[in-house]
């Protein structure tokens, strides 16, 4: 009896081992690049061309900053070979969770990247003498405004003007706090490393946002939701990304993206290598591939955001270039406030403020 049971158990183990071996061998055959990125940063035709030229399968996962960090944190930096976090969200995260590995800049074709951006990103993502990011795509947050209210809404705080009550929307996220702080005459970026000062700025912004709550129709949570609200005319002004504004502008010229008087907020999304990625070579191949001017322009045409690739502007559609010029004159461009790296601990403070604004009546 006992021996019988023993053999059947042994047989079972053998079967299990066989199945496991078969599964492993299947997954190891094709070369693969697992990319976690934003919507529009890896258009289908670009992926297809890359697969054709290199024979590497690209698996794209769409995400956003917080989701990207959470996913990589859960696995300790495994599961993806290439990620595209914003450059201000790399150093603090890396110090806390250690989810990235440094970039080997000798493997990046530097001639294809705008030198000033490359330098800025290297500095912004530097930790312990190594850097963790290559600039990829940049854009701004500002105001999307319907022509009917363009004389009222010129800065973030104008969203609280009684003239547009019930007709505005913004997100309950950190860019809103930063934007309002600038519009109220503060400089939150300068206070990044001064906790007390930052807290006092946040307190002012919190009060403003709570007072402003009656004006807001709803806090938007996703890009499509916001575009639907603006498109249907249910809201007339919102704090949002430039690309969304240009997309709406193409459909309805009355709606446009406006750089606020206190300055649009500029961000740069990067390429970063997850610490336990399995195909580093493919990751560098992808970086160098999409930094070719024609390919980069395809990404711009798809996502609405401009890239760090040199000479790509020539290949961008005329409508997009015009919309861009309409939104940013020379002054507005120089007035863009670029996000510096977020020091650890700041986001906990901001989180409490956002919670309190949400809870206020």
């Amino acid at each position: 009896m006992v021996s019988k049971q023993g053999t059947s158990r042994f047989r079972l183990m053998k079967v299990a081992a066989g199945v496991a071996a078969a599964l492993l061998s299947v997954s190891a055959t094709a070369e693969e690049l697992r990319l976690i990125t934003w919507g529009g940063y890896a258009p289908d035709d670009v992926v297809a061309q890359f697969e054709e030229e290199t024979g590497i399968d690209v698996k794209v996962t769409l995400s956003n900053n917080e989701d990207m960090i959470s996913k990589l944190r859960a696995t300790g930096g495994a599961g993806f070979d290439l990620a595209q976090p914003s450059q201000d969200r790399i150093v603090g995260v890396q110090r806390q969770f250690n989810i990235y590995r440094p970039i080997d800049y000798s493997k990046v074709d530097a001639a294809r990247v705008q030198p000033s951006m490359m330098k800025a990103t290297k500095e912004a993502t530097a930790l312990d003498g190594k850097s963790y990011g290559v600039p990829a795509v940049w854009g701004t947050s500002g105001l999307i405004v319907n022509g009917e209210v363009e004389d009222t809404v010129k800065d973030y705080t104008d969203l609280c003007d009684p003239a547009v009550a019930g007709r505005v929307s913004y997100r309950l996220k950190r860019p809103t706090l930063i934007g309002f702080a600038f519009a109220m005459g503060e400089d939150p970026f300068a206070a990044y490393n001064d906790e007390q000062k930052y807290q006092s700025i946040l307190a002012k912004v919190e009060k403003k946002l709570i007072d402003c709550k009656g004006n807001v129709k709803t806090y938007w949570t996703g890009g499509d939701q916001l575009l639907a609200l603006l498109r249907s005319g249910e809201i007339k002004a919102a704090m949002a990304w430039d690309a969304g504004g240009w997309k709406l502008n193409a459909e309805n010229p009355a709606i446009s993206f406006v750089a606020p008087t206190s300055g649009a907020l500029g961000w740069i999304d990067t390429f970063a290598l997850p610490r336990r990625g399995e195909n580093e070579d493919a990751a560098y191949k992808w970086i160098n591939f999409v930094m070719q001017p024609e390919i980069a322009a395809k990404i711009t045409n798809q996502s609405g955001n401009f890239t760090a690739a040199k000479g790509a502007d020539e290949f961008v559609t005329a409508e997009l270039r015009d919309a861009y010029r309409q939104s940013f004159n020379e002054d507005a461009l120089n007035n863009i406030k670029w996000y510096p790296p977020v020091p650890p601990g700041l986001e906990a403070m901001e989180g409490q403020v956002l919670d309190r604004v949400q809870a206020a009546n």
């Binding site: 709550k213 129709k217 249907s232 005319g233 919670d355 809870a359």
Partner: protein
């Protein structure tokens, strides 16, 4: 020989279930319980404590959302029951043959689409530039566009709609098992509609009512999309809070503590519900 073979087959049959419970339910929950007692002292050191649970009670925002979620879920469950009962009665007792199948089918169809699609459907109907608003204006009941979205009523409509089927199925099943003669006897003995409903029908349907209510309550309490998308700027839902802590704030410790609290809340509510109605879990689910 035979005994060992049957024991082996039992083991094989139970293994997937046991693995599922162990790996996907038990282990993650234990892990979450552990994380919820961690306190982050600085960026690379942690210690143990009940800091997160203290936060829950000291920040009024958390427990107010918690209370609100619980009460609104209870109300939603109650409303679902009130709406589902006549429908279940009609399907179980009045409809015959083909009509019965069709009616049941009609209740099932919306669930072929995902929760997200159903929620967007309601948003299209209720929004300011939506169908209902346009009809009201067309019929002359309203002068301008009417906003019906982004408030608590909209959230409850969406939640009731999502829960309806899960209330209907157990109700129909229990009501079908009831002998019509019982109702007739009730009337023969001088009962009116109300007393027959109270003394005969409801006691008979009680197991179905309780099991349907438990399922709907749990679904509502744990739903995420509907309250987030249909609720306005003042609406907060506890699951949304947990999501925010985990994903947006990277505060797993707080998120885990809130998750544990939600689990405790729902278990207590179910236990209380069973206690108050005098049902046992075995009777209700069996």
């Amino acid at each position: 020989m035979n005994a060992s073979a049957s024991r082996l087959s039992l083991c094989l049959l139970i293994t997937p279930f046991a693995l599922w419970i162990l790996l996907l339910v038990l282990l993650p929950h234990l892990q979450m319980l552990r994380v919820s007692f961690q306190v982050r002292e600085s960026w690379d050191t942690i210690s143990w404590g009940v800091q997160q649970y203290q936060n829950f009670f000291s920040e009024s925002y958390y427990w107010r959302t918690f209370l609100r979620t619980g009460l609104m879920s209870l109300f939603t469950t109650f409303l679902t029951l009130i709406i589902a009962f006549p429908i279940a009665w009609y399907i179980a007792k009045l409809a015959r043959g083909r009509a019965k199948g069709l009616l049941f089918f009609a209740c099932l169809i919306p669930f072929w689409a995902s929760e997200l699609v159903r929620t967007y459907g309601w948003m299209i109907l209720l929004r300011e530039s939506g169908l209902f608003s346009t009809w009201l204006q067309y019929l002359g009941f309203a002068d301008g566009p009417v906003e019906m979205l982004y408030n608590d009523v909209a959230v409850i409509i969406g939640l009731v709609y999502n829960g309806l089927l899960f209330m209907l199925v157990p109700l129909v099943t229990t009501l079908e098992g009831m002998d019509d003669n019982l109702v007739e006897a009730g009337y023969d003995l001088g009962g009116n509609h109300f007393t027959v409903l109270r003394e005969v029908v409801v006691p008979w349907a009680m197991p179905g009512v309780v099991s349907g209510s438990i399922v709907v309550f749990m679904l509502t309490l744990g739903s995420y999309l509907t309250p987030i998308l249909m609720g306005g700027k003042d609406s907060a839902w506890f699951t949304g809070q947990i999501f925010t802590q985990f994903i947006t704030r990277f505060n797993w410790e707080q998120g885990a503590a809130l998750g544990v609290l939600l689990l405790v809340l729902s278990s207590v509510m179910v236990w209380l519900g069973l206690r108050l109605t005098g049902q046992s879990l075995r009777k209700v689910m069996g």
